[in-house]
C-alpha cells in the first residue's frame, strides 16, 4: 500500500478530476469532493461545502431562545436531542439557573439513546459504503426501536425539539422507563450480531485496517473530535473533560485507540454503543421526581458572552452566545463537529484508492447539514 502522494507536476499533466457529489451515493448528502485521480489513486481532493447552507446562525438572531432550539435540530439531525441540550445548557448557564435532577437524568438518557441511534445509522451506512448492503437493514431495524421510544415521549421521531432552556417541553411518557429498559435488554443481544456481520469479516478488515491513518498531531491540529479523534488517541470526550447534566453521576469509559486508522475509528463507535447502554442502565431506574420545567419569568440571557460545549455523537459541539440582554441572541455561533472533522479528509485519503476514500469519509461519519448550518 502506497501511503505517499504521487509526485508529478500537476500543471504539465492533464488531470483526471471527478466530482463526487453533490449527488453521489456515498457522500450521504449534498457534499462535493473534487477528486483528482491518477488511475484509481486519489492524488488530492478538495471538499466543497455550502450546498445546504440555510443561515441557521443568522436566523437565530431574530428568534427567542425557546424558538431557536428548533433550528438546532436541523443542524446535525441525527443528534437532535444533544443539539437542543447544548443550547439549553448555554442559556441556563447564562441565566445562572440549574434544572432539577429529573430533567438532568432524562436529558442524559435521551442523549445516550440519541448517540446509540446515530451510531446505528452510521454503522448501517458505513457497511453500505463498503458494499455490504445488508448492514443497512440490520442497523435500521434496531434504530426503529429507539425512534419509537422518542415518538412516544416527544411526539417526533427525528427532529424532537424536546429539550428546551429551563427543562423539557413535556414530561416523558409513563411507559418511558419500561420501554427503555426493554430496549437496553434487546440491544445487548443484538449488538454482537453487528460484530458477526461486519467486524470479524476478513474483507472488511482488509478494507479498513491501515487505511486513512490519522496521527494524534493531525487530529489535534485539525480539531477532529468525537469518535474520529478518539480513534487516534485524542482524549476529547467532553462528557469526561467537562461533565454536564447527569454525567458526573455515572461511570463509563472513554474509548480511545492509539492507532488512528479507519478500523479503529470504527471500533471506537462500536464500543461506545456498549458504554451508552451502560450509562442508560445506571440512570434509568433512578429517575428522581421533580419539576420538568423551571418557573422562569422570561428566558433571556443577561448581557455578556457565554460558551457551552457538549459531546454529540460526532464530536464536540460548542455553542457561543453573545447577548445584549434581549430575549434573542445578538450573535450565536455553533462550533459544529462535522465542519472540523471534514477537512482532514484530504490529508488522510491522498494516496489511497478511490474505494478507500469512500471508506474514510464513511469512517468520519459526516452529516452534511451540520457542516453547512
Amino acid at each position: 500500500m502506497e501511503d505517499t502522494v504521487v509526485d508529478i507536476d500537476l500543471k504539465e499533466k492533464e488531470e483526471y478530476i471527478i466530482n463526487m457529489g453533490p449527488q453521489h451515493p456515498s457522500t450521504h448528502g449534498v457534499l462535493r469532493f473534487e477528486t483528482c485521480l491518477q488511475g484509481e489513486t486519489v492524488k488530492y481532493l478538495i471538499p466543497h461545502c455550502g450546498y445546504i447552507h440555510r443561515g441557521i446562525e443568522k436566523m437565530s438572531e431574530s428568534l427567542t431562545y425557546p424558538q431557536l432550539i428548533h433550528l438546532t435540530d436541523r443542524m446535525d439531525y441525527l443528534s437532535a436531542h444533544i443539539n437542543n441540550e447544548a443550547v439549553s445548557l448555554c442559556v441556563e448557564k447564562a441565566m445562572g439557573v440549574e434544572v432539577s435532577d429529573r430533567v438532568k437524568y432524562i436529558r442524559t438518557i435521551l442523549a445516550e439513546l440519541t448517540r446509540i441511534a446515530s451510531h446505528q445509522l452510521w454503522w448501517s451506512a458505513f457497511g453500505m459504503d463498503l458494499g455490504a448492503l445488508t448492514t443497512f437493514f440490520y442497523g435500521l431495524r434496531d434504530r426503529e426501536k429507539i425512534l419509537d421510544i422518542f415518538e412516544e415521549s416527544t411526539g417526533a421521531r427525528l427532529l424532537q425539539s424536546f429539550i428546551t432552556p429551563g427543562g423539557l417541553m413535556y414530561d416523558v411518557h409513563p411507559n418511558f422507563q419500561k420501554r427503555v429498559t426493554e430496549f437496553v435488554k434487546y440491544f445487548r443481544k443484538k449488538l454482537p450480531e453487528y460484530d458477526q456481520l461486519l467486524t470479524g469479516n476478513i474483507i472488511f478488515r482488509e478494507r479498513t485496517q491501515g487505511i486513512g491513518y490519522m496521527s494524534l498531531e493531525d487530529a489535534i491540529e485539525f480539531g477532529v473530535t468525537g469518535p474520529s479523534g478518539r480513534g487516534s488517541g485524542f482524549h476529547c470526550d467532553i462528557r469526561k473533560i467537562e461533565p454536564y447534566s447527569a454525567y458526573p453521576l455515572v461511570k463509563f469509559d472513554e474509548i480511545t485507540f492509539d492507532v488512528g486508522d479507519t478500523y479503529h475509528r470504527y471500533l471506537v463507535r462500536m464500543k461506545e454503543m456498549w458504554q451508552s447502554l451502560s450509562i442508560i442502565e445506571q440512570l434509568i431506574d433512578g429517575i428522581p421526581q421533580g419539576p420538568i420545567m423551571l418557573e422562569l419569568k422570561a428566558i433571556k440571557a443577561p448581557k455578556g458572552e457565554y460558551y457551552q460545549r457538549v459531546e454529540t455523537a460526532r464530536g464536540e459541539l460548542g455553542v457561543f452566545i453573545v447577548s445584549d440582554g434581549a430575549p434573542s441572541p445578538a450573535r450565536i455561533h455553533y462550533r459544529t463537529p462535522n465542519f472540523s472533522n471534514l477537512f482532514i479528509i484530504n490529508k488522510i485519503s491522498a494516496g489511497h484508492k478511490i474505494a478507500d476514500l469512500v471508506a474514510i469519509s464513511g469512517s468520519l461519519d459526516l452529516v452534511i447539514p451540520d457542516i453547512d448550518r
Binding site: I18, P25, L37, L130, L197, I354, D356, L357, V358
Partner: protein, 358 residues
Amino acid sequence: MYDFTPIIESISGYFTSTFSPLWAGVLLMVLLGIAILGFYAILGLYLVYAERKICARMQNRIGPNRVGPMGLFQTIADLIKLLMKELIYIRNADSILFNIAPFIVIVASIMAIGSIPFAKGLQAIDLNIGVLYILAISSMGVIGVLIAGWASNSKYSVIGAMRSGAQVISYELSVGLALLCMITFSGSMQLSEIISSQEDGWWIFKGHIPALIAFVIYLIAGTAETNRGPFDLAEAESELTAGFHTEYSGIKFAFFFLAEYMNMFIIAAIATTVFLGGWLPFHIYNFSVFNNLMDLIPPIFWFFGKTAFVIYVMMWFKWTFPRLRIDQLLALEWKYLLPINLINLILTSFLTLMQWHF
C-alpha cells in the same frame, strides 16, 4: 425414463419430412432461437425476482409482494416500465459503440445458454469442445462492458469499465484452470460426455480434495467473472454510482441487468454440469432402493435444483460480504487463486494418471 431425445427427434423429423432440407434447417433454427430467447427472458426475470426475495429474507424485509401473488409479476412489471422509458442519448457519446455495447453483452450470454445440457437430449448444440466454447463466449461479454464504459464518455464509466476489464481477464484464468482440472478427470470437453462420466458418482465426490478445491475456486472466480457479489467493482454503486452502465437508460440498461443475472445462471449451470453431475440424480453406492427413488425425480428438476443451489450460494455471499478493493481483488487472483489452481492441476493430473479417483 424422462428422455427428451424422442420428442426433439420427432419435432425435427416432422420438419425434415414436411419441408425441403434447406427450409427445415432454417425453420428449426428459428424455432430454436425463439425457444432459447423465451427461456432466457423468463429465466432472467425470475432470477431477478428470486434475488429480490432472497435478499429481502436476509435483510428482515418482505420483498416484492404487491404485483401478482407473492409479487410474482413484479419483475415483469419492471420490464414493461423499462421498455417504456425514454432512451437517453448522450451528446458526446460515441453513438455507434454506445448502442452496440448492450447487444454484445446480451448476445454473449444468449450464445452460452445454447450449449448447456438441461436434461438428457435437451441441449441446443452439443459441441465436442463445449467447455472451451462456453469459456470463449462468456468472456466475450467483457468486450461489451469495455465498449460501454468507453463509449459513454463518462469518467465514472471509464473507471468501471477498466476495473471490469482487469477483473474479468484475470479471473478468466482461474475459471479456465478450475475447469481444466475437471476436464482432466473426465477426459472430455464435450458437456454430454462430462455428464455421462459422472454416472457412477459426481466429480465433486469422486475427485477427492482437488475437485473440491477446484469447485471452490470456480465459484469464487465465476462470481468475479459475472461482476457480482463481493466482486461488483465494475458497478460499485457507493464509489462509481453505477460504473460502466451509469449512462444507460431504459431497455439498454435492462439488457445489462438481464445479462448479469443470466451470466450468473450460466456460471451456476456449468458448475452443476461439471462438478455436480448435471442432470444426473443423486446416487448412493449400492443402495438401490434409494437410487431408484432418486431416479423417479425427472432430470430437469435435478438440473435446476442443483443450479438453484449454486445460485443461492452466490446470492448468499453477495448479500453478506463487503466489496473488495481493486488491488485486493487482483492480488487475490494472481497471488492466491492462480498458484493454488496450478498446483491443483498437477495434483489432478497425477490422480488421473494413477487412476486413484473412484
